[in-house]
């Protein structure tokens, strides 16, 4: 059993490193695809020559999502389509373009390749826990935010020494190499950063006591805590604000207004809440207030 586990982990890590993709099959298997359906607009009208018209005409769209974040964007080795809040948002947007969920080609994006994928046209949209930042907005467009979350901490159940980010000084804190979360705990709170390729590897290291805490967006941590409630807990209030946006290529600035309108529409007609309840809401948290959109003037 022990051997098998090691081999499985080895295979996962090898795949993750070598293919520069984080396609771990770790995480819960009860992440079933939601049964939600969203409105698909019949014959929507778009200004001719616009990107929306072109996508509607083509009858297909390529959307980049994460494959390794339970509840947000997650795909098991055996399923055809990813599940999570981000893919649900993708279906909502596609519906507004007059496209069925089956017209969507899901592409895995990892944190490092989201901008290049948009610039090269590998994907049309990126909906991959993609925090809006000024730096990113210089190279790609980001509409939204459609969801606001915050960085939290996952610790061992019996650990009382960490109650919030201020207790992190000198502690070993694990997150995915290259993430904003790991930079924040190091720079602001003096933690010793420990980077791994996937969150599930971090959770393993937390369980065997090699690190003191795991940090990333609260939604993801709640998913892991729910899987091992006897061993792990999420502590403290969120201590950052991550505003998830939908990325698009700067070549098609007209997408911004369309995406913002579609997000706004999903807020008001209840599709957004439906998407949340079927994914992140399963960890027991209620749908938060809908965030205020940035607008498209920038």
């Amino acid at each position: 059993m022990r051997k098998l586990r090691t081999i499985r982990l080895a295979a996962v890590a090898a795949a993750a490193m070598l293919a520069v993709t984080a396609c771990g099959n770790a995480g819960s298997s009860d992440d079933e695809a939601s049964k939600n359906t969203y409105e698909v607009v019949k014959d929507p009208s778009f200004e001719s020559g616009s990107r929306m018209a072109a996508l509607n005409e083509a009858g297909k769209i390529k959307i980049g999502v994460k494959f390794d974040q339970p509840g947000v964007g997650f795909k098991t080795a055996t399923s055809d389509t990813p599940t999570g809040f981000d893919p649900e948002m993708g279906k909502i947007i596609a519906g507004q373009l007059g496209l069925e969920p089956s017209d969507i080609k899901w592409v895995e994006t990892v944190s490092d390749n989201r901008e290049p994928f948009l610039q090269k046209g590998t994907v049309d949209l990126v909906i991959a826990s993609y925090s809006i930042t000024d730096e990113r907005r210089q190279v790609v467009g980001q509409a939204g935010p459609y969801y606001v979350t915050g960085q939290s901490l996952l610790v061992a159940k019996d650990d009382d020494s960490i109650k919030g980010p201020d207790d992190l000084k000198g502690k070993k804190v694990c997150s995915v190499t290259g993430s904003t979360s790991i930079a924040t705990v190091e720079e602001k709170y003096g933690a010793k950063p420990a980077g791994f390729d996937t969150y599930s590897e971090c959770v393993d290291q937390l369980k065997n006591g090699s690190v003191d805490a795991v940090t990333t967006d609260g939604a993801i941590l709640l998913g892991y805590a729910a899987q091992a409630p006897d061993e792990l807990k999420v502590v403290g209030e969120p201590f950052s604000e991550e505003r998830y946006g939908i990325g698009y290529s700067k070549k098609f600035p007209e997408l911004c207004q369309f995406l913002s309108d579609s997000i706004e529409k999903s807020f008001t007609d209840g599709d957004w809440k439906k998407a949340f309840d079927a994914t992140l809401g399963k960890s027991g948290s209620d749908a938060p207030e809908t965030p205020k959109l940035d607008g498209c003037s920038n």
């Binding site: 070598l18 210089q138 790609v140 290259g178």
Partner: protein, 214 residues
């Protein structure tokens, strides 16, 4: 350039850790590798077999797999070590096989006639070894040793995904934070690795020149 200058201390810390990994594992691999090579060259068949098995197993296993075993296997059998120690075990063992083979090739490169000639003029065994065989053997191993150490330098970048904040870890963090300056970041970090590798190459070239037969 802001991406590099603003984060200079983090990047330098990263390279400092890279160098620590290089030095610790370089020494570890040299010690282990010399031991294995001497077993492999020994006249006792059992020792030769043991060394052969060691090299077969660890040289033919991907380094990443060895690292994963020390990270996820050792804790399961109750061995708790720091990340630096764990990855160093894997890297030293892996690199030592290449060192051992480089040493063996060096010893084998000394023609048998040299030892026979030494003996025929009355040199005792230890003198033959220290004055005739080893100096020539070591000289022949300098270029392959340098290659092994250069490969080790680059292999240390695997630590970025295993809890150590070395240079490649810094690279990945910066690439995400500075979307507009990616090429500067890649170039800067690559330059750091090139400098380390060049130091090794330079040292090897100096040694070769110094030990050259006039």
């Amino acid at each position: 350039m802001d991406a590099l200058t603003d984060n200079a201390s983090a990047i330098l810390d990263g390279f400092w850790l890279t160098i620590q990994l290089l030095v610790v594992n370089g020494i570890g691999a040299l010690v282990l590798g010399t031991l294995v090579a001497s077993l492999r060259l020994s006249p006792v068949p059992v020792m030769r077999a043991v060394a052969g098995l060691y090299i077969t197993v660890f040289r033919n296993t991907p380094l990443l797999v060895l690292i994963v075993i020390t990270y996820f296997g050792l804790p399961e059998v109750g061995i708790q070590l720091g990340f630096f120690t764990r990855i160093s075990i894997a890297m030293s063992v892996y690199t030592s096989t290449f060192i051992a083979e480089a040493l063996r090739s060096g010893v084998n490169a000394v023609p048998l006639g040299q030892a026979e000639a030494a003996r025929s003029i009355g040199m005792p065994f230890t003198m033959t070894l220290t004055q005739v065989v080893l100096p020539q053997a070591v000289r022949a191993t300098v270029p392959p040793m340098a290659s092994v150490l250069i490969a080790l330098t680059k292999n240390t970048s695997l630590a970025a995904g295993f809890g150590l904040a070395e240079a490649t870890f810094r690279l990945k963090g910066l690439v995400n934070d500075y979307a507009t300056e990616r090429w500067v970041i890649f170039f800067g970090i690559a330059l750091g690795y090139i400098v380390i590798v060049e130091v090794i190459s330079f040292g090897a070239a100096r040694l070769e020149r110094r030990w050259r037969v006039a």
